[in-house]
Amino acid sequence: MPIRDHSGIVIDKFNGLYDRGDVDSVPSDHFTDCQNVKYIATSSFGTRDGVGISQDVAVPLSNVKRFYNYPTQTGQTLIVLTIDGTDGNIYHVVDSTTVFGPILTITGMMDFAFIPYAGRAYISPIGYYTITGLSNDTLNIEKGLEDEFLYVYAGDGTPARKAAGDPLSGSLIIANGAAGNTDPGFHLFGFVAETSSGYLTAPGAITGFTTSSSFSVSFTNVPTSGDPNIVKRHLVATKVITGYNGDTLGYQFFFVPNATINNDTDTFLLDISFFDADLLEDASHLLDNFAEIPAGAVLTLYHNRLCLAATFDDISIVLVSALGEPEAISQIDGLLIVPPDGNPITNAQELRDILYVFKRARTVAFVDNGNVPSSWPMTFIDNALGASIHGIATVLDSGSASVDALIIANYKGINLFNGTYIAPELSWKIQNFWELQDRNEFRLIQMVNDPVTQQILLVIPDKRILSGNYLNGMNAKNIRWAPWGFPRDINTIAIVNISSVILGMDLL
């Protein structure tokens, strides 16, 4: 009933959830509480869109814990982790009717890190662990699963295999070949195996031989690996060694031009001629590479290098591969070290040519100086704010940056990051809501950014979705928040095919 001299309040805009401070401070055009609403155009709202099944198969995947968008040469696919008892199984979901796998099964795998590279998938199993604080409280942390490794999946349904690989073993039988030419003198020879993913093992089967100037060199008894993933073997050699001391690994090896066995079956390579001056491409660095790369909790790419961080034994180290060789990680100089503080590295992301590395409450930056990774300078960016393990929004179906900024979830809230954390945070209006989320479960946060529909969607620790619509502007004032609940808990989220949002539902 109208009251004289009082005019009604007209609400013609709905600017989303406002959950900060006392409820009396909620602006009239905001919700004090809401659920399952989506914002339409600039001022309206309606019921959120429904979900439909994504797989049209007799036995769809179940107990889905994590998935990532996996762009392959031929389409947008998903790489999916399901849990079966204590076993983590990884599947490759190609489309609604095609599922490969499990391509990898590992006991104790609770989560996994993933990065696509050249159509292949690099997968690192994650284990969930705890640390005890000074006040005897328990903090959840995530790091690479103990005694596990980085895996590579070819994308074709064949099982994933351990990345990198062991060198060949055995001894060569070397003799002068047909008439040819070499620099006469003592050389060490060996073979480097190449995997289907292009990884080059360390030189193996190293054997000494004194060449003669007028003859080529022939090799028999060349070892085979027996590994179906080995597709080639390359001859490597030192230059002439004077005063050989018997240390087979103490000399510099080079690839011998035009000396490759293009299979893993032949045991001979005959009549190879070369001069020491032809030995230009170094192979010695392969001796320093990991034959098995320990699993980590973080995978990212930076300057065409694969970066892996938070292994079980070294939670503050980033392993960085050689340029263009994601499985070639030097144990000597392929390392970045974030000052240890008891907390593991949780995330890493390139932005504007800088590699940002995050812990739960710390952010540092590394810059590629053109030298080996261990020489890259580090800069502290923020000693209070970091990122959760999946807390950097992926943009559409690739990458992480949009509009030259990252969207990062951390204890403070959801932040825009362009080299510094922009204040106020995007989630300023829902500070109470954010603080109610269980900090120990921030590992559940996974975020996507859809610039097409202009919304951020993230799985929050209570296993709902939090929607942030930024049609009115991506800033703390204009973003419109709304939590979405579903009949089952949500574990994971991804975007494929430009703007199709995929959700993974839990058992309960």
Binding site: S54, F67, P487
Partner: protein, 349 residues
């Protein structure tokens, strides 16, 4: 396909039953009020020792039919939890309406795990309220570590889920055990049933009996078997006779009989009392099978079955107005209502 409330994924429902009022003929049945979950069949058993006429006598055991794949649990569903929740406590209100006299209530309520007998033979034509607290604990069967199939569910839980029982005898007088001459007086339109106790089971006959009313002998015509009984004859043990307004003048009615047998004697008021069961947990009104004079709906408990596995990969679909979920593993899907969308402003409505 109907769209269900999302809670239905838990297959949670409240089972309720109808109970008929005086003279009602409706058979109490379990009714699944929430469409599309499962069928429930039930057996109705009368609590021994309580005579039904204008009474409520009610005990339920429920056999849950999980087998219908359309409205029930899919054949290949995996079930991770079964919860049977019983009424914890309730307030029961018994109201005797006007017209009855010598109204006596005998009330017995039973939870699934035992019987609780309430004060019996509560006399009066007014409202009687009491509280009933169940000692029953919920039964929760947790199969989350090893979900069971529907067949196993049926094997484990498909029969004899006893939710509760309740009986109320109202509008009569206490049973009298007698083996000697006895007399009572009644108002008009009485009805008497005598249960013969010397036989293998209860039975009665309907002869014409001798009634002395104010010194006059009146013969009551049985509509089915007119049998003149000489004045002063012995009434056969085990009988029922009726009086109507036409048969009896105003004033008390006296009945004599002689028997050396042991029998019970129940007299019921000709005017049906109103018996209302009210309660916070298990009783409500509103459902009325058409054959019932007085119908009550009594919630018998809640059975929750958690379907183990709707987990999977889903796509958020623009413009879709419901959620469609997998239900393992027969490839079936179910549509569910989007859970409770709302937006609330800080303004007082």
């Amino acid at each position: 396909m109907p769209v269900k409330d999302f809670d239905a994924l838990n297959m949670s429902t409240t089972f309720s039953g109808y109970v008929s009022g005086p003279g009602g003929t409706a058979t109490p049945v379990f009714t699944d009020f929430d469409f599309g979950r499962w069928n429930v069949s039930a057996s109705d058993s009368q609590i021994p020792g309580v005579i039904c006429s204008s009474n409520f006598s009610y005990e339920k055991t429920g056999d849950v039919d999980f087998t219908n794949p359309i409205v029930g649990i899919p054949a290949n569903a995996l079930i991770s939890k079964v919860e049977v929740r019983y009424p914890r406590s309730t307030n029961i209100v018994v109201l005797a309406g006007s017209g009855g006299f010598a109204s006596i209530f005998t009330i017995e309520a039973r939870f699934h795990d035992g019987s609780i007998t309430l004060p019996s033979n509560v006399a009066g034509n007014n409202t009687y309220t009491f509280s009933l607290s169940g000692s029953s604990a919920d039964q929760i069967f947790d199969y989350s570590s090893s979900p069971i199939t529907r067949a196993q569910l049926i094997s484990n839980h498909g029969t004899q889920i006893l939710f509760m029982g309740l009986s109320v005898s109202a509008g009569g007088i206490a049973g009298i055990n007698n083996s000697v001459n006895y007399s009572l007086n009644f108002d008009l339109g009485f009805r008497i049933r005598v249960t013969y106790t010397d036989g293998p089971f209860s039975w009665y006959i309907k002869p014409t009996v001798k009634v002395i009313n104010g010194g006059k002998i009146r013969t009551i015509q049985d509509p089915e078997d007119i049998l003149a009984v000489p004045d002063g004859d012995v009434v056969p043990p085990g009988f029922e006779f009726y009086g109507t307004d036409d048969d009896f003048p105003s004033g008390p009615v006296f009945v004599w009989w002689i028997s050396d047998d042991f029998f019970q004697f129940f007299v019921f008021s000709p005017i049906s009392p109103s018996v209302i069961l009210g309660g916070s947990d298990w009783t409500n009104f509103g459902a009325s099978p058409p054959t019932c004079a007085v119908c009550l709906t009594i919630a018998l408990g809640e059975l929750t079955i958690l379907i183990a596995n709707a987990s999977g990969i889903y796509t958020l679909t623009q413009g879709k107005t419901n959620d469609t979920l997998y239900l393992r593993a027969d490839s079936s899907t179910f549509d569910f209502k989007i859970p409770n969308p709302f937006g609330k402003t800080g303004l007082v409505p």
